[in-house]
Every structure is written in structure tokens, then in C-alpha cells.
Amino acid sequence: MTETITLGKALNHGLRRALENDSKVVIMGEDVGKLGGVFRITDGLQKDFGEDRVIDTPLAEAGIIGTAVGLAIRGYRPVCEIQFDGFVFPAYNQIVAQVAKMHYRSKGKVRLPIVIRIPYGGGIGAVEHHSESPEAYFAHTPGLKVVTCANPADAYSMIQQAILSDDPVVFFEPKRRYWEKGEVDLGGDLTKAFPLHAARVARAGTDATLLAYGPMVRVALDAAAAAAEDGRNLEVIDLRTLSPVDYPVIFESVKRTGRAVVVHEAPGNIGLGAELAARITEECFYSLEAPVLRVTGYDTPYPAARLEEEYLPDLDRVLDAVDRAFGW
């Protein structure tokens, strides 16, 4: 049965299904129980699955991830919620030195099927530490897989796929899109769903390729729509998987269009856009009409709420970059 629901509700349904399908799946984090999480993504789950399956933890992120590692060794499949992007750093040591490395360290003997959910990104008028995009810190780390969803349908299937995967997955949720609605097939057969680690062409085009993910996919699509009015036919690729990146889809597109613009909220310097630009240039060197351009957050800390509109990439900045790509 397809329903039109918000991205947040889609995640909630996906988590519910994961809890139903595998008794080893446990959800843990701050305020995920009675409150249902500050964004209500786990709403109602503790009531229905109990305090052993949906665990309100002490206020300690290292503890959340560190105990999740132990639970995983014991055979559980922990789904950890980090309350906001800016609060994942106390757990960073456990994530990069343990979660990411234990499979390699143990020559494959230890699998840690842990999912780390992180609401991320800006645009919600929040105070410091509540609007960051730390994906590069994780995507640069071998041993972690990193994904993000841009619409309710993907949110629903990807969270379940991430939980089913034996790889440790950092799952970034575009918090400003939690309230955006879309069609979701709640009865859908997961095995038939679009694969977790695949990029998707969100809009077919011919003149230039926009690469975006998470909260910026909507911006890229809007920019493409606007460009269409000026007679420019832009292709939009929703990366979905940030590590590993699904390059074949990207290379095929850029070789066709000859131009690429990457869009993300994170600071540009050594962001995901840098890697995309470098790799695209290596693979499509003779197809490029212009260098790969990036529209990103600036290389400053995330600013006060009343400045975030200027900080965040928007339709105009994307179109400006597209213009520059054509004017090169």
C-alpha cells in the first residue's frame, strides 16, 4: 500500500519494520524512548517493542557507540541515534578507531552491523552544533560506509537496507527535509528496492550534470527546473551513497554532458565535492568543457541562524555556478 508520508515518518516506518523482522535489532540513543526522539523518528517504537529493544541511554555518545560495538559482538544489530550532527564527536574515537577498523583488524572475524543515524544539515534556524554536515569526516574513513537519503521513499528503504547490511553504516538524515512528503510503498519488497549503494539519476538531462545528496537534492532539482525555463537541460544525480560513491553513473553522465557542478552544505575545503571533482577530472578529462565546479558551505564554522540563508547553497548559487561552467 503506497502512502504519502513525510520523510521522518518514512524512517519511523522503516525502523518499525526492521524491529519486526529481526529480534536482534535494537535502537539506542538519547530520548529515543518515551519521547520518540527530538524529531520523533522513533515515535511509538519503545511502547510497542519494549525498553530492551528501544533503549534510552545515558547522555554519552561514546557510550552509545562503544556499547553498540559490544552488543554487535554479542550478535545484536544496534541502530544508534546521535541526536544532532554536532554531537557525534564525543563518539568519534569509537567510530573511527573501533567501528571502522574491527572487521579489518580481526581479518573478517568480527562483523559490526551497526547503523549510526545522524540528523544533519542546516536550514532549521537552530543554535550552534545543530546544523552541521560532518559527512566528510566519515566518508574519508576506510571501513565505514556512508549514505544519505533525499526523499521519503529512499528513507524508508535505505534505513532498512542499512540495518540489514553487515557493514557499519553511517546514515545521514537530512533533518530539514524530515517534514517533506512523498509517496512510499510501505508494503514494498525490500529485495526489489533500489540498491543501497547506488546513485540515482533524479532528473535526466543533457547539458550539464548536477551532483547532490541529502538536503541539497531538492535544491538541485529546483535549479534544474529553473534552468529548463532558460532552455538548459540539466541532469541531476542523487548520490545516495557517499562512501563508496557510485562513480560509474556519474562518469557516464558527465561524459555525456561535459559539465559538472557539485552541491553540498558542508564546507568546500576537502569536502566530498573535492573528491568528486578530482575523480571526475581523472576519468572524464577529455570530455570536460569546464572544470568541475562546487557550490558548498563556506570554510567557516556554521554561522548564527540569521546568517544561514547566506551560508547555505541555494537555487541562485547553483545556477550561478552552472552559468560559470557554460561560460568557461
Binding site: 538519547e30 530520548d31 524512548g33 518515551k34 519521547l35 520518540g36 527530538v38 534510552d56 541511554t57 545515558p58 547522555l59 554519552a60 561514546a62 557510550g63 554536532g86 554531537f87 564527536f89 564525543p90 534556524g125 537552530a126 543554535v127 550552534e128 552544533h129 575545503n269 563556506y298 570554510d299 567557516t300 564554522p301 554561522p303 548564527a304 541562524a305 540569521r306 546568517l307 547566506e310 551560508y311 541562485d316 548559487r317 550561478d320
Partner: protein
């Protein structure tokens, strides 16, 4: 080393706490704890009235902030409702040379430091991130990442010792504020380790308001928090955080011990968060009305008011005048908050580095040029 015993009154938590003013306004002369320390206060009538004025004022200003947020003038607000005595008692216990490291909720302490109450509103309105000079106000910037400020406070206190500013009655002391939830953070426990090892002149002031957002205290500990200190080699004590007198007495004594070179103390101020965690929170999802009711009966202001009345330290006129004055301050605050200018867009590039960076300069220039390209274009 832990101590928390007291003359057990009604609704006193297991393990007791230091209380000098009961919920119904009865004055307890003094409390002597297990280790023989006696806590008491002898305030002049003037001082008693001053404390009352502080309590009423910080509550009234807080109410104004809550209203401003509801009206969309603030992005968010963290209310101190219910914690006035913990904040005024500890804030007034500070001596001018002492340094405070707040969380995001210590508006009452800020007020008692003599700071213009508008100072943190830039942060909550979203026009800045709380950019004041900690050393100018002896009050650090608000810290949002739970617990991190306790290590900053510890390092600062180590500096006080290195500067030779301890060991005398006019020495300097440091106070670190944090909540019950923060006690689970590794960094907070590390600050206990360091303070013990370096005998830092610091008071750890934990406002146990019973909740970390939706999580009750049992999610953080199964024994009283003040007992945490013993294992790190310094005393822990629990005080009735809704009793401004006891909070003052206990904090003042701990600060003086610190400044005299006797090292750290952990104070657990046992109180209750009467309002929502922040304006974004809905406490009805996780706690029952009767619990809130039971704490209303322990209100920090009404008990002091009852005491002042019974003792004829203050009359109705005084109480009315205090309310009226607080009301005036609140309206003045509101006006000034509404008048806060939005930052210039280009300001987002300011202060990334003390020495600047050519990369930031280039981005700022490109941004300015880009902005200019819209001039008159209707954007």
C-alpha cells in the same frame, strides 16, 4: 568523603540534603553534616530582600523570554523556571574575582554576576552565537555541547593555581555548571580526574533538575550524584537546590575552600525543571502532571516570600514593588531584544581566525561580489 545528610524534612530525597529554609518558609538555623561541617547563613534583612528580588527578577525575565520565543522573536529558549534558587544562591555566593563556566541555562547566574540580562539573547535570537568576553564578565560563553565546559573550567582553575592565586581568602575560585545528564559524559568525569590530581580550585555545581530532556535521573545513575566525587578524591555534597539560603551557604563554603587551596568540591543542587527542556520540547510526553504539582509545593520563591512575611522582613508593598520593578525590567528587555539588529550577511566570514586566512578573504570577496550582482535585481 561524600556528605549529603541533613535534618530530614518532608520530601527530602534519600541520603538527605542541606536545607536551611523549608518549603513552607521555616528557617533551619544551621545544618551540620557527617564530616562536621556546619552550614548556616546570617543575612541582614536587606540581603534577604535582595535575594528575594533576584529570584523574582530572574523568573520574570525568563518568562519574558519564553513569551518572546512563542511570538517568534527567539529561535529557541532554555528556561530556568524552578531553578532560580540554585542559580541565585550559587551566583550570589561567587566573589567578584571568581570565574563561572555556564551551560546554556544559567541566565540567573549571569544576572547575579551583574551582567546585562540581554547578553545571551543574541544566541537565542540567532543573530550571533553568544559572543561575549569571558574574562571581561568573569562568565564564560554559553556551552551547548554537554559537559565540555567542565574541562575548560578545570584548565582555567589550573591556571589560577599556576598564577599563585590560591591559598588565601582573597584567592580566586572557579565554578563549573552542568546538569544531571552531563554527569554521564566522559569529559565531565575527566574533569573530576584532573581536578583531583591537580587539586584545582574549582566547584562543580550540578543542577540535578531530575531530567535530561525526557530522560529521568535513573538513566544516568542509580546512586545520588553527589557521591560521584569521593572516588576522585574530593568531597561531594547535596543541597536543596530550591532553597536559596542553603545553596548560598554550601556554594560559598565550597568556593572559599577552593580559593584557600583546599581543592575541588562537587555540589549536587537538588531541584526540578518546572518548564520544558527548551521551547522545542513537550514534557507532557514523558512526565505526569502530579509530579510537576508536587514540586510546585517546593517552589523556591514562595518559601522565601513566606519566610520574609512571617519574619516581617518584608511587607506587601515590598513584594508589589519587586514585581513592578521586575515587570519594568522585562518590558525594557523585550524592547531591546526586538531592537537587536540582524547581522550583515558578510559578517559570516568574520572571526574565523585571529590572524585571518587568504582563503576566507577570497571567499568573502567572492561572496560580496555575488551579493552585489543582485543589487536592484529584486532579490
Amino acid at each position: 568523603m561524600a556528605k549529603g545528610e541533613s535534618t530530614a524534612g518532608s520530601d527530602v530525597p534519600a541520603g538527605g540534603f542541606v536545607q536551611l529554609l523549608t518549603p513552607d518558609g521555616e528557617r533551619v538555623d544551621s545544618v551540620t553534616t557527617a564530616d562536621g561541617t556546619t552550614y548556616s547563613v546570617d543575612f541582614t534583612d536587606e540581603e534577604y530582600r535582595g535575594l528575594y528580588r533576584d529570584l523574582v527578577t530572574v523568573r520574570r525575565l525568563d518568562a519574558e523570554a519564553v513569551a518572546l520565543q512563542r511570538q517568534g522573536e527567539l529561535g529557541i529558549w532554555a528556561s530556568l523556571l524552578g531553578q532560580e534558587a540554585a542559580q541565585v544562591g550559587s551566583g550570589r555566593a561567587l566573589r567578584p574575582q571568581d570565574m563561572a563556566f555556564p551551560t546554556y541555562r544559567e541566565h540567573g547566574v549571569l544576572y547575579c554576576r551583574g551582567i546585562d540580562p540581554i547578553m545571551p539573547f543574541g544566541l537565542f535570537r540567532g543573530v550571533d552565537q553568544g559572543g561575549w568576553d569571558p574574562n571581561e564578565f568573569k562568565f564564560n560563553t554559553y556551552t551547548i555541547v554537554i559537559g565540555s565546559q567542565t574541562l575548560h573550567a578545570t584548565g582555567y582553575a589550573m591556571g589560577v593555581t599556576m598564577d599563585g592565586k590560591t591559598g588565601s581568602p582573597d584567592g580566586e575560585a572557579v565554578i563549573a555548571y552542568f546538569g544531571d545528564g552531563a554527569t554521564s559524559q566522559g569529559e565531565v568525569n575527566e574533569s573530576f580526574v584532573w581536578s583531583g590530581v591537580f587539586n584545582a580550585p574549582i566547584v562543580f555545581f550540578c543542577q540535578n533538575n531530575q531530567y535530561a530532556i525526557s530522560e529521568p535521573l535513573e538513566r544516568q545513575t542509580r546512586v545520588p550524584l553527589y557521591q560521584r566525587a569521593g572516588g576522585y578524591g574530593f568531597p561531594g555534597i547535596r543541597v536543596d537546590g530550591n532553597d536559596v539560603l542553603a545553596t548560598y551557604a554550601v556554594t560559598r563554603a565550597a568556593l572559599d575552600n577552593a580559593r584557600n587551596g583546599q581543592g575541588p568540591t562537587l555540589i549536587e543542587a537538588y531541584t526540578y525543571r518546572m518548564g520544558a527542556h527548551t521551547s522545542s520540547d513537550d514534557p507532557t510526553r514523558y512526565r505526569i502532571a502530579s509530579e510537576v504539582e508536587s514540586w510546585k509545593a517546593k517552589d523556591p520563591i514562595s518559601r522565601l516570600k513566606a519566610f520574609l512575611g512571617k519574619q516581617q522582613i518584608a511587607t506587601g508593598d515590598f513584594f508589589d514593588e519587586v514585581d513592578a520593578t521586575a515587570q519594568k525590567q522585562a518590558l525594557d528587555l523585550r524592547e531591546r531584544v526586538l531592537a537587536m539588529p540582524d547581522p550583515e550577511p558578510v559578517a559570516l566570514f568574520d572571526h574565523v581566525y585571529p590572524n585571518g586566512s587568504p582563503e576566507i578573504d577570497a571567499q568573502r570577496a567572492a561572496f560580496a561580489e555575488y551579493q552585489a550582482s543582485f543589487e536592484g535585481s529584486g532579490h
